[in-house]
Amino acid sequence: MKYAFSFLAVLALVLIAWLGSMIPGMQYLFGVAIPYLAILIFLGGFIYRVVQWAKSPVPFSIPTTCGQGKSLDFIKQDKLDCPTKTSEVVARMFLEIFAFRSLFRNTKSELHEGPKITYESSRWLWLAALLFHYSFLVIIIRHMRLFLNPVPQWLHFLDFLDAGAMLQVGAPLLYASDLAILAGVLFLFGRRLVNRNVRYISLANDYFPLFLIFAIASTGILMRYFLRTDIDIVNIKELLVGLVTFHPVINFKIGSIFYIHVFLVSALLIYFPFSKLMHMGGVFMSPTRNMANDSRAKRHINPWNDPSIKPHSYAGYEDEFREFMVDAGIPVEKELPPKKDEE
């Protein structure tokens, strides 16, 4: 049900853009106003969220240590998984962010008669996640050629590589990243349906971005290869360069598919800061990963540490137990009062 709702929501977005963009005069809304608004909300929202996170202090040093810590000189430290120096933390974070290292550890547990529990390495999620994120990145970078005039040489080169141009004939060339992102999204969606644990925990918020990104990729592909009516790259580029130079003009009729694509991207940008997609920013700030395991060597400061919390005092303790302590021969700070002779 949750995916049905998300699917319908994305379908509604498509319809809004399709019908809306056909109303005369509305092209400016879909081609200029909404994209501007989306970028504004994305940037503002993203920064707002990061600032909100940063406002809360990190009161304690809580790295998750995933290897041997630095101790005696004959015990080999695992510098990557239990870093003490900043450079080691940076290395750990780099692999976390760029290679999804923790996900690489993933195992699948199974219960068998006995009972017996087995664990085996399971890297499909890691692979699909890499495929998805990197193809997305390549596609975003590739799109820069629509916003930049002239197009820098390295972008041409990336385009060339992505299209595997040396292997293809005819035009337009098919991009590897297009296929990869579709495959990645389909895997992540399929996994949400098939893996019973994940299906049970999935929310509408988990399906929605998958559908949305799938729709964005599909409309992009449709526009490039199939629905070519009124899709003239020169006109589109004029609009997009106009957007980034703050002189947007729409001088030509552009096909609805373009407006749908742009509207969906705008929706993604607006949705981004208010959703789990903020993991993109959060991964940099996770205290269990970005802290050095040096809390015994270097004092970590907690800004709200309350100095008024004191231990139950030794004096109070001795007052309560002094007699027993003296009897047992345990040293005391204050001797017992001299006993009054009875009689």
């Binding site: 996170w53 940063a54 406002k55 809360s56 202090p57 990190v58 009161p59 304690f60 998750t64 240590t65 290897g67 041997q68 810590g69 101790s71 005696l72 015990i75 695992d78 996900l103 195992t107 219960l111 008669e113 009972p115 017996k116 529990i117 664990y119 019973r196 644990n197 299906r199 049970y200 925990i201 929310l203 509408a204 988990d206 959703s275 993991h279 959060g282 991964v283 700030m285 996770s286 269990t288 990963r289 809390s295 015994r296 060597a297 004092r299 400061i301 540490n305 008024s308 919390i309 004191k310 139950h312 005092s313 030794y314 001795e318 309560e320 137990f321 302590m325 047992a328 345990i330 040293p331």
Partner: protein, 553 residues
């Protein structure tokens, strides 16, 4: 509730209808209320214990009362909902970890089958992600735009009594072991989430006795067992006598002695109950042999910190005794005994909460001269670090054949493994004190180690079945090395483990004992002027007692 028979539970774990065995619940988790019945909850804290803690300076444990989770009315304060939401807001502002962990989860499910509670119970709400969602759903509803706009559609839900009850159920089916955080691509640590939920629950008077009673004992008597100074001393004296009876060497130990070089603090369970007693004998023998100038303290007679299982204020208050006592006695530094969560507090919290310990010196082994630079600020070192260094420098003579009856494996305790990085020191020691020992499978040791299933104050008898279920992954890995290598001893460096793994082995793997690494050190230790007590071996020849300290109690 009587504990299920082994065969029954073995079947139930594998075949019982649960998410882990493939039976997907038909109802959404938000629509599945918790049901408390005898056996699935730890008993609530006694009224007088809560009152005592609440009366202590700097602490707040309100709403002391007599209540029970299996009754409908939890006797919550009138404004409980407001208190919880205000408490959540306050904690979001105090802990960046909480904010990030509330916002970043993508529900990829990588953590789901990493949790020993999920593997043992199959309860969907024991998947770390769902445990966090119990709190996250409320966070979304009240603190995020999406939740305010779309409510349930955006995964939000209102804070109700039902939700509160759910929090209680599942924050006490988590041992804050951090195994899930190893696998999470964003390092989301359920321990942080559980800690926050437990803190919030305490603000409206929901807590369990097995945590709050030991905590109040620790505050008042110095240790969680509630041993008063003379009793604590008596217990250690008995152990010292036992060591003397075995080795023929008189043990010179002291209590609350000013001017000692080292203050030694270990979990009080080590001087109170088997098999921890043998570990304590190991410490006594080792320190005697090397002539360490050290003292025990009856005031700071607890290494463990039950405050960690309640809220950060109580954790700080209990922990503060260590430095206070070190300062009063004028020692140079502190050595800490084998304990899991104690070392989480010492390693990750102590200096921040109660430092700087500028009245102490950087720990330096008086025997080897090694300076423990890794503890240069906190000035407290782990007994395994200290012992490994002694062995490395050849300063103690060890005869592993004295442990020849022991076929050991080694259990990494959650906290030393995942909140400290103490993995190889105990292994280095084991290499030198037993003839042979065996590792459990790689997905169950080191940073992937499985919890005993009863940590964070859950080793109470009324939830024994839950504990046996949660401990199954650990027990199962031990069984693997029992079958393969005839292992008969599960060694560890944790006092809670020594208690809980004993029950766990007794249930799943009878015949496998549990010991502290320092017990094996003490047994293998060749002491100057020793005169070992003799017995007879299987052939009837006179020989050293094969079970070492274990023969003595």
């Amino acid at each position: 509730m009587a504990l299920a028979k082994l065969e029954q539970l073995s079947k139930s774990v594998v075949q019982g209808p649960s998410l882990a065995t493939g039976a997907v619940p038909t109802k959404d988790w938000m629509d599945t209320p918790v049901i408390f019945k005898e056996g699935n909850f730890a008993y609530p804290a006694k009224k007088e214990k809560v009152e005592y803690l609440d009366s202590q300076e700097g602490l707040s444990f309100p709403n002391a009362r007599i209540w029970s989770p299996d009754e409908d009315d939890w006797k919550l304060p009138e404004d409980w909902q407001e208190t919880i939401l205000k408490g959540l807001k306050e904690r979001l502002d105090k802990f960046r970890s909480l904010k990030i962990f509330m916002d970043c989860c993508v529900r990829c499910g990588a953590c789901a089958d990493k949790c020993h509670f999920f593997l043992g119970t199959g309860d969907p709400k024991n998947m770390p992600v769902l445990r966090a969602e119990l709190l996250r759903s409320v966070y979304r509803n009240d603190f995020t735009l999406a939740g305010k706009l779309f409510g349930k559609m955006a995964g939000g839900r209102e804070m109700t009594v039902g939700v509160l009850k759910e929090w209680f159920m599942y924050s006490y089916q988590c041992t804050e072991c951090r195994r899930c955080s190893v696998f999470c691509p964003y390092g989301i640590d359920t321990a942080e989430v559980t800690m926050m939920i437990r803190e919030l629950l305490h603000t409206v008077g929901i807590g369990i006795n097995w945590i709050l009673e030991p905590a109040s004992n620790s505050n008042r008597t110095g240790n969680h067992m509630g041993l008063q100074p003379h009793t604590f001393k008596d217990n250690v004296d008995f152990l010292a006598e036992d060591v003397e009876n075995l080795t023929g060497v008189k043990i010179n130990h002291s209590f609350n002695r000013k001017g000692a070089e080292v203050l030694f603090i270990t979990p009080s369970a080590d001087v109170f109950a088997e098999p921890g007693l043998y570990t304590a004998m190991g410490y006594l023998a080792l320190f005697e042999q090397i002539g360490l100038d050290y003292t025990w303290s009856t005031y700071a007679s607890e290494g463990g910190n039950f405050g960690l299982f309640t809220n950060n204020e109580l954790m700080k208050k209990l922990n503060a005794k260590m430095y206070a006592e070190a300062k009063r006695l004028g020692v140079k530094y502190i050595i800490g005994g084998e304990c899991g969560h104690m070392w989480r507090v010492v390693h990750q919290y102590m200096d921040t909460m109660n430092g700087p310990a500028d009245f102490l010196e950087v720990p330096r082994s008086p025997i080897t001269g090694t300076v423990f630079d890794n503890a240069r600020s906190t000035k407290m070192i782990h007994i395994s670090e200290f012992t490994a260094d002694l062995i490395r420098h050849g300063k103690i003579k060890l005869d592993p054949s004295r442990n020849k009856n022991v076929r050991a494996t080694y259990h990494d305790s959650c906290n030393p493994a995942r909140a400290m990085g103490l993995l190889d020191e105990p292994r280095y020691i084991l290499d030198h004190v037993v003839p042979e020992w065996f590792e459990m499978p790689e997905n169950t040791i080191r940073e992937q180690t499985f919890c005993c299933g009863s940590g964070t104050g859950l080793n109470t008898d009324e939830i024994m079945e839950l504990r046996m279920r949660a401990g199954l992954p650990r027990a199962n890995a031990v069984k693997h090395v029992i079958d393969k290598h005839d292992v008969n001893m599960l060694s560890c460096v944790c006092a809670i483990d020594r208690a809980t793994l004993s029950s766990l082995m007794g249930y799943w793997n009878p015949g496998c004992d549990v010991c502290g690494v320092s017990e094996l050190v003490g047994n293998a230790l060749v002491m100057d002027n020793e005169k070992r007590a003799m017995g007879y071996d299987a052939e009837g020849n006179e020989s050293e007692l094969p079970d070492g300290f274990r023969t003595m109690v």
